[in-house]
């Protein structure tokens, strides 16, 4: 794990939460606001370590809840569970493929709000729910599906620009060295 990339992921989480709260046209047009933290979690879980996943869940979840009427901390566990699930299965996932990234973004963005709602309802809180919530969930999931490949591209660019790449092995092999004698 590169600490600079982790820092960038956390900064992106803060920006994403602010964008969700400040940018209203999608909500006015489609009746639901897109949630981008699960899509960011997809990128983090597939490319980074468990520590980065946990940090993103805690920072992103707490920031989200601080601007929302949610009880503080309610979004942390669902985000972490989504990240952990992806982290455990990442060797089986073709995460280089944009289509796979979209599918994972869709699934994660649908799963995280559902888990949050389950915890809210278990805690005795009554959020605004109805048949329209299914449409909202669809919008959220579709937004996540579109956002996931964007995060992969964006952080790929960050990595190429800001982070030292791995040192490649040279073609020199000592066992193939031609040793010349005196003659």
């Amino acid at each position: 794990m590169n600490s600079l990339t982790t820092l960038l992921i956390l900064l992106m989480a803060i920006l994403v939460v602010f964008w969700e709260a400040a940018f209203n046209p999608i909500r006015s047009w489609l009746g639901a606001q897109v949630e981008l933290l699960p899509a960011l979690m997809v990128y983090t879980a597939l490319r980074h370590s468990l520590t980065a996943v946990a940090l993103l869940a805690v920072v992103g979840g707490l920031c989200f809840d601080s601007l929302s009427a949610n009880p503080l901390g309610i979004s942390v566990l669902p985000l972490f569970l989504v990240g952990l699930l992806l982290l455990l299965k990442r060797d089986l996932i073709l995460h280089q493929q944009p289509f796979a990234q979209m599918v994972l973004g869709f699934a994660a963005s649908a799963l995280a709000p559902v888990l949050t709602l389950l915890i809210l309802l278990t805690g005795g809180t009554t959020p605004l729910l109805g048949w329209g919530s299914l449409w909202q969930l669809l919008v959220v999931a579709a937004g996540g599906a579109l956002a996931a490949p964007v995060f992969f591209e964006l952080f790929g660019w960050f990595d190429r620009t800001l982070v030292y790449g791995p040192a490649h092995q040279t073609t020199f092999r000592p066992d193939r060295e031609i040793r010349r004698g005196r003659l």
Partner: protein
């Protein structure tokens, strides 16, 4: 397959979540405000960008349009001043009559303008953040409105910002009255997650004569909202609870999706 580091991290996250969720309300509110202060630089940035855009737009407006606007506003201002003089006279008369009859004088209210800066990022709540806070004298449960009608009430206050819970949120219930001959009383509650302009008026008596098109205003009961603030108009009425009561859908007077500026009502003598 879960390995030991996974278990440990999962345990830590669950522990942290339980710890934060079980904190006392005051501590949670302070923590929320503390974490929310991370966004202060972004607020500043967004405000600057908005102001620059407004200034640019103002420069693009032709002079003739501005002059016409100015004339219209001057006329409107004169009309409103005349109305204010009339209202002041009616107020004095009202006060005299109240004194004669022995009724208690109603508490006058002051208004303060606030900008809506953020909306709730979660789809299952209807709240907004405004740019007035405790330093401006805001406290919990103050009514928030626009010239069109009621918007909601202040639900939590920090030094520089406050959260307003809007009509239609499960945490914003308002005692309301239908403006008709029987003056039917009910409670404004949430309706559906998608219909942001519609709310439900429940607990109407079964003999209520409310019909579509009737205006709904605050009844003044409950102690938070003063009476007579417009809420909306009735769209339809139906019998509920096996005919024991009626419920009506009310179209809000205010477009909550397009909120940019709101007025916060303060009692004059807090």
């Amino acid at each position: 397959m879960l390995r030991r580091p996974h278990y440990i991290t999962l345990g830590l996250v669950v522990l942290l979540t339980l710890l934060v969720l079980n904190l006392p309300d005051q501590t949670t509110a302070r923590l929320k405000l503390g974490i929310g202060s991370i966004f202060l630089p972004l607020f500043g940035l967004a405000n600057t960008a908005q102001q620059s855009a407004e200034q640019a737009a103002a420069r693009l407006l032709p002079r003739s349009v501005l002059i016409e606007q100015n004339r219209r506003l001057t006329r409107e201002n004169e009309q409103l001043r005349l109305q204010a003089i009339q209202a002041a006279e009616i107020d004095r008369e009202n006060a005299r009559l109240r004194q004669w009859v022995g009724w208690q004088r109603q508490q006058p209210w002051k208004l303060k303008l606030a900008n809506v800066v953020l909306r709730d990022p979660a789809n299952w709540w209807r709240t907004v953040h405004i740019d007035l806070g405790a330093r401006d004298g805001l406290t919990n449960d103050l009514p928030v409105l626009t010239p069109e009608g009621l918007v909601g009430r202040v639900s939590s206050v920090s030094l520089t910002r406050a959260q307003v819970v809007l009509l239609g949120d499960p945490n914003c219930k308002v005692a309301a009255r239908v403006v008709n001959s029987t003056r039917d009383l009910g409670v404004i509650e949430s309706s559906g997650p998608l219909d942001i302009d519609l709310v439900e008026m429940s607990y109407l008596p079964r003999h209520a004569t409310a019909k579509p098109g009737d205006a709904v205003v605050t009844s003044g009961e409950g102690g938070i909202f003063p009476k007579g603030i417009p809420i909306g108009t009735i769209v339809d009425v139906q019998s509920v609870e096996y005919g024991l009561a009626k419920a009506a859908r009310v179209k809000l007077a205010v477009n909550l999706n397009a909120l940019e500026q709101v007025w916060v009502m303060f009692p004059s003598n807090p």
